[in-house]
Symmetry: C2
Subunit: 259 residues, 2 copies
Amino acid sequence: MKFARFRVDGYDYYGQVEADRLRAIQGDLFSGDYRLTGAVFPLDRVTLLPPSRPVNFWGVGENYPVHVRFRIDQMGREIEERAKRFTPWHKGVGSLIASGDTVVMPPDLKVLEYEGELCIVIGRPAYRVGKDEAPHYIFGYSVSNDISGADYRDAFMWRMKCSDTFGPVGPWIETTIDPHNLDIITRVDGREEDRGNTRDMIHDCYAIVSNISQYCTLHPGDLITTGAPGSTRPLKPGEVVEIEIPGIGVLRNPIAAAR
Amino acid sequence: MKFARFRVDGYDYYGQVEADRLRAIQGDLFSGDYRLTGAVFPLDRVTLLPPSRPVNFWGVGENYPVHVRFRIDQMGREIEERAKRFTPWHKGVGSLIASGDTVVMPPDLKVLEYEGELCIVIGRPAYRVGKDEAPHYIFGYSVSNDISGADYRDAFMWRMKCSDTFGPVGPWIETTIDPHNLDIITRVDGREEDRGNTRDMIHDCYAIVSNISQYCTLHPGDLITTGAPGSTRPLKPGEVVEIEIPGIGVLRNPIAAAR
């Protein structure tokens, strides 16, 4: 099943996706304590919001062999060392935007890059859970674009990964899908630029959830973007970037220069 | 004036501190659109909560000359390079705890360190604000203990700085105080261990708010811990660490080993 968060006439809803319509729910989506209502809206009449309101928005880097080789060629051996360990980081909840929202390039940024990724959505509080138990704590999966300001070389990536609008996630959450055999396709202005499959993850979704939860509780609605499968290239203002994961949906965001 | 967030009988409140009592408010503390109510609770009957519910919890490192020298002696010249730039990072909202809550050492951690700091509390959405305008966007100041798991050497400090319970902030927010002439005193089991003054900050509070806001919107309730003034030493389970900023209050947290 697919669940979206959306806005109509100034009110925010969670709802179930029914083909080209959204049916609002009442209650708590993540605990399962909710009911479907009679309020139904055509998809083209709503504004999609990021699919949850996370406490934390996590990123995982260097999680596919092809991407690791791409980054080693680009940035040197430090990446190789980093890729040997499990190295998550905080994407910054403030960076989160929805499908349809605009990614804005800060005035001093030269190189903005896409990274199309599978995004885990947490369903229950997870603290020190094993890899085998991890699926029980995952609510579903969405599509993310882990936008990077590549020329910001800050020690802790606060501008590179966390600037406003650098965290598109959407269009919604799919709850019934095998996360480890999904194509991830990136298109810029309709041209395919990259294609990978989640079966090539170094740390799979269950390992990621288990590993983070050994130190940091994962909360309902928390998002984890799980790494780009392949290469990337710079985006220019005016271009539109689409990340498609067949079975989940298409995350589409235009790029603009800051005014 | 002082404002706290607290829990009584399962309900959460914001309230104004009146000597040894808390008066609940109704409305939105940060916008100023609130009123005092008749509900008054003795301080010793409430459970303090972290003083706000931030979208992001920011940290700033290497922000006092004495602390920079201490870290260079300990960790080498990489710190000196890092200290030349403004380098904030995400502390992880999940790490946040209140005064009175217990800091828990993960089972595999050897060295847990305190860092007593002044904590900025944001009042209004701040995007690309100048240093001169920054005071207008600050609601007040609290006390923080930027707990570090010193032997976790992760690239992006996800365990070192962001593990559960590593972010004590409290006991409350003081809204009418000069942030740039405050003593910060750290005591362990009542013995003074460190003392500094916010006048020695490298990046002052207004520069910090202005700098972050050039890329990342600061949201009402967001917290920014502004760096430790001096040195630190390892804490042991069973010890109690207090950070006092006269004029604001005392943040007190016991240390325990994970079970």
